[in-house]
């Protein structure tokens, strides 16, 4: 008798979320099985990787990744265009790091101007992130959501301390919303509930359970993402059925393993490959645990992860 592999079927399904507009719009989610388990159900969309771009020069990025963007990274518009034209970026994440009170303190109006220019220059979907300063982000994201109206952007990150304002801005101008909690699945669910209780459409949320790099707590992120996905699929929990984002690049490109020189630590191997491998490995682990959207920095790491995705699907 022929062997029939057992199939696990689920009652729940991840919401399909479309980012951006026009022919460059991309859709993530929609699956009713664990990551890449297309043999057990439906996996209609591939995970998407967005390139990390900032409104200020990436002075704190290690040389191995900063040099890729030498000559373009002084200006977010050229930087974003460069990612799209040179590396075929499917989405851009514009991180408004320069609005942070300790990092230039640019005004919300300046940030909005930057967003507008980037949107005029690229047609791929745009993720607009604040500087992760809960008070300043509310001002910045309210203004930027307004100028981005009509482009179906992803706004973030809404957190427990500022979700009311950030979600209201995303809702008023018809954007998607990243809801971030700090490595706690119960608080992640709670935040989603509170956001939807404001009247925000639960199918327009993307969950950020907080990322971490390989060697720096990746297993915590991995397990939270995995449990979110299991709640969505096996318990049919409608508050946890959103796609998940892994904000990988910013966590990887600040650890010593991606910047320690070969002279100091020859046993760690070639510096350039080490950084690329670290980012790709972290990203791949998160795809395996449930992430559908990744934010990354090194184009070679992006290429490696995209090759992995294509092979798996």
């Amino acid at each position: 008798m022929a062997f029939t592999p057992p199939k696990e079927t689920n009652t729940g399904k991840v919401y399909s979320v479309t980012m951006g507009t026009g022919d460059k719009a991309v859709t993530i989610g929609g699956e009713n099985v664990l990551p890449f388990h297309g043999f057990e159900g439906v996996v209609p969309n591939k995970p998407v990787i967005a390139f990390d771009v900032m409104d200020i020069a990436p002075v704190d990025w290690p040389d191995t990744v900063r040099e890729i963007y030498a000559g373009v990274s002084d200006d977010p518009v050229t930087w974003a265009k460069f990612c799209v034209e040179k590396f075929n970026a499917k989405a851009i994440c514009l991180r408004l790091a320069g609005t942070h009170p300790d990092n230039g303190n640019r005004s919300a109006a300046e940030a909005a101007e930057t967003v507008k220019k980037v949107l005029d220059a690229v047609s791929v979907p745009l993720i607009i992130l604040g500087s992760n300063h809960v008070e300043k982000d509310t001002e910045v994201l309210v203004k930027t959501a307004e100028v981005a109206k009509g482009r179906n952007c992803v706004i973030g990150k809404a957190q427990e301390a500022n979700y009311k304002t950030v979600a209201a801005a995303a809702m008023a101008h018809d954007h998607l919303l990243i809801a971030m909690s700090e490595l706690d699945i119960n608080l992640s669910k709670q935040l989603n509930i509170m956001i939807t209780q404001l009247g925000f459409n639960k199918e327009k949320i993307i969950i950020d359970p907080m990322c971490s790099a390989l060697g720096y707590g990746l297993e915590y992120t991995y397990t939270v993402m995995e449990r979110i996905r299991l709640a969505a699929l096996t318990q049919n929990d409608v508050t946890m059925q959103q796609p998940i984002v892994g904000d990988v690049g910013m966590y990887v490109w600040k650890i010593k393993e991606v910047s320690a020189s070969e002279d100091t630590l020859p046993m760690w191997g070639a510096l350039k490959e080490r950084g690329i491998g670290w980012e790709a490995q972290t990203a791949t682990a998160l795809l395996m645990s449930g992430a559908e959207l990744l934010i990354m920095r090194h184009p070679e790491a992006v290429a490696a992860v995209e090759a992995f995705i294509n092979e798996m699907m």
């Binding site: 509930i193 209780q197 318990q235 946890m240």
Partner: protein
């Protein structure tokens, strides 16, 4: 766990009057309120309905006009049942007949169950007296399952009902019913579904303690794996959600009761 809203019963004066006058207003209002509180199905108890065989048909359409859920057709009247099944909208799930039992007079219900491919509650009582313990209930259940199989009814269409008795008069039966829920499930693989008429436990008790008995009894039953309860959703929803949390069936969040 499935909550089958019990409030549309001919025993209630307001419901009875609405049924007799064919006044949709109160029926629909009660059906909607139960659905909003978490009922996944609405019980329509029209009693024996002698001489008013089209009452169930009217109840089913009246309920489903306003609530997107299946109906539990609760009557011993064969003709009324069939009329109700004919108009039932299966878009939101199969209808449930309440009920067959080991009493030969209730066997024809199985014909209807098979004919309309619906679900059925099988009450584990015979024509004789009430079942004494879990073993006796399980033995009757096995007979009921065998008979249902003869009619070609799939086991997953059957909800076994152990018959809840009053705590105030037959106190020792409460624990026996809890044990029966466990035993029923072991009668088949996948496990048999189970249902109770929850508020029977507190029948005859003072009004202010009835909900306490109902909710605590439900906790014990849910622990043993109860699939469905005919009950007042407004009364039990907090218990259902909380037990689901404690049994790790839903993910905890501070607002779990609001979901």
């Amino acid at each position: 766990m499935l909550i089958i809203g019990e409030k549309l019963s001919i025993i209630a004066k307001r419901v009875r009057e609405a049924m007799m006058k064919r006044d949709k207003g109160p029926i629909q209002e009660i059906a909607k309120a139960q659905f909003a509180k978490g009922a996944g199905m609405i019980d329509a108890n029209i009693g024996p309905a002698e001489g008013v065989e089209d009452l169930m048909e009217w109840m089913v359409t009246t309920i489903q006009e306003v609530v997107p859920a299946p109906v539990c057709l609760d009557t011993t009247n064969y003709e009324a049942l069939e009329k109700g099944l004919k108009v039932h909208n299966n878009e939101w799930g199969r209808p449930l007949i309440n009920s067959t039992s080991n009493d030969p007079e209730r066997f024809p219900i199985l014909e209807l169950t098979a004919k309309y491919n619906c679900d059925v509650i099988a009450l584990t009582v015979g024509k004789g007296g009430l079942p004494a313990d879990a073993e006796e209930r399980a033995a009757i259940a096995a007979e009921l399952m065998g008979r249902a199989a003869e009619y070609g009814i799939p086991m997953e269409h059957i909800y076994l009902d152990p018959l809840v008795l009053q705590a105030a008069t037959t106190q020792d039966q409460a624990l026996k019913v809890v044990q029966t829920i466990k035993m029923f499930q072991d009668l088949n693989d996948p496990p048999m579904k189970t249902v109770v008429g929850l508020s029977n436990i507190s029948n005859g008790c003072p009004k202010h303690i009835r909900h306490i008995l109902n909710e605590h009894f439900l906790t014990l039953l849910m622990y043993e794996g109860l699939s469905a309860a005919i009950a007042d959703p407004a009364e039990i929803i907090t218990t259902v959600k909380t037990v689901d949390i404690l049994m790790n069936k839903t993910l905890y969040a501070h607002s779990y009761l609001e979901m």
